[in-house]
Symmetry: C2
Subunit: 386 residues, 2 copies
Amino acid sequence: MSESIRDKVAVVGVGCTKFGDLYDSTYEDQVCDAAFAAFDDAGLGPDDVDAAYVGTYLPHSQGGKAGISLADPLRLYGKPITRVENFCATGTDAFRNACLSIVSGQHDVVLVVGSEKLKDRPGRGIPRIGHQVLGKGNTAPGLFALAANRYMHEFGVTRSTLAKVAVKNHWNGKRNALSHLRMEVTEEQVLNAPMIAWPFGLFDCCPTTDGAAAAIVCRPEIARKLGKDYALVKGAALAVATGRPYYDPTFDYLGFRSTQAAAKAAYEQAGIAPSDVDLAEVHDCFTWTEITNVEDLGFFPKGEGWKAVEEGKTRVDGSIPINPSGGLKSFGHPIGASGVRMIYECVKQLRGQCGERQVKDPEIALAHNVGGPGAVSCVVVLGGAG
Amino acid sequence: MSESIRDKVAVVGVGCTKFGDLYDSTYEDQVCDAAFAAFDDAGLGPDDVDAAYVGTYLPHSQGGKAGISLADPLRLYGKPITRVENFCATGTDAFRNACLSIVSGQHDVVLVVGSEKLKDRPGRGIPRIGHQVLGKGNTAPGLFALAANRYMHEFGVTRSTLAKVAVKNHWNGKRNALSHLRMEVTEEQVLNAPMIAWPFGLFDCCPTTDGAAAAIVCRPEIARKLGKDYALVKGAALAVATGRPYYDPTFDYLGFRSTQAAAKAAYEQAGIAPSDVDLAEVHDCFTWTEITNVEDLGFFPKGEGWKAVEEGKTRVDGSIPINPSGGLKSFGHPIGASGVRMIYECVKQLRGQCGERQVKDPEIALAHNVGGPGAVSCVVVLGGAG
């Protein structure tokens, strides 16, 4: 039988760039900024790293393909560096594979970097996205909106509830120096913003963002020797569903099976129940996505996640704070970077380093990506070393 | 210190499609053909698989991106499936990560599929390759030719020696029902073929190919229970060098550091010397590449690999048979598939199932990819279960 990953991997350093329109920063700049922030945090350097994983969804003309995406900017030569790609779960899955490589005993210290340049893409991504997705009329807002509409119809939810997710996450993101859209919004602003794909107005959608984040993992005994305030990986699970959920006649449009399966596996590894989670960074690519996520992750029964938003339970001072970082909605969503950025926030929260948006005394934090929509999900559970 | 992977992973099933111009076969068809051949070989089915890895370099409109590349064609739902990309080492690195996931204890049985559609690419790869590479005048033949010319100048080698690599590999490939260019060629034909990039004529270059290959790995105790003729993974190592070797003033253009580093690590894991290897599948994207590879892998000193070709040492009946499958040169090179296809050949050779191209009683087989050129290399060492 498979063994659990629980308490076999420590996160000893995390780093993150400012997220935003980074026209003055190359892909390589971002990688260096995030990785060296993590190195500084861990008290380590590139020479201490045995192996690395890079998560990039859309390669950029400046980087993002193969192991050289990290080897050249960080001078990590002669070492194994694997690129992982898994839609919007790219970052968390790169982290998961780094953890497996530690548990396998093959490596002592492994660097994970998620990085994405989405804003200026000479000759690459945007034309390709255009051909693949926009050319068929299936935009990300449009695809998620199909499910959001069904959910709202089924459970009697209005756009006003969705807007409260944006208000909350922008409140958090305003208190985060690294977030892309570092401003608060009112419910009225969200409701009156230009319509993108009903029910999603502009402020129901996460922005298009450049950025990178990094984490350094090792075995717990190495972390103890380093004498740093590390976090322990309690569970890390990936689940893949169909890439065509909307053609599946058994799909109810109310939640994502990949999240449900990944969460179940991660909780089993961690030996916890959803109620043990003290805060979660979940994939709020759209306001509605956060609502279905908190149900799929088991924090609330299906059809009741929207009530939690109305009741303020998901605020920083609520019973289960969701996206204290500001989330994809305010912090931004450089695809391959987002999962690692969530792990960065979880570790900072577990250490109590988040200032005004700090959750009170958290012991268990969860990071969650879902992409596809619904095709791929990855859940990582982290705990303080205590 | 890092532990060795040696004898901790068994390969219990391998499968491979016909390689070639597969216009009648979709990406999903290829995945199914390769995976079910491996399932049949192992006496297992999709339900027996805990996790999977897919290696694809250039996503195709029919698949190749994220875990759904395997989930939908194979109905592998609710399980972790990671896409790995690492230039021409994509297939071997997907296999390497699958092995790490077994050694980590997280999974019992893991499927690896390498698959690539290069011939018909509606709206994708070719235009993108065009922009990235051809648009700058840097084709793969041109880049490898720069190093080949230097090597030939340094060691006094002529095109006639390079041609003998093609003659040998086509002789092997002619005896392989699955190879793309299943025909023999004469040295005269190779030398008189249209020039592509001096010193490479058409028959010095591997073809552009569609195809897929699959392998199933598990812990050795599970392999023993299955009662099949399995192989053991002795070593699996990846090394990344600079992505810009030709801008590196310390680069001598005579061999690839990534191969040298990956080979050293793989031999250390396996506890063997290069002389212990009984056959090798090496990355002969061009005739010269095979010659530098057999030196970088330690089978011959630098500058003497070309003599081994002249002396027939690398033929199926030679002292170190190289590319008994026919190699990239004759078998074809669907990028992400090639590494897994090499592992397929190694396992078949270790089992003694290769008919006229069978190497006599091999105990250790090696698979090697190099891409970039020279940026990324992966070496896998396999042994019979004895």
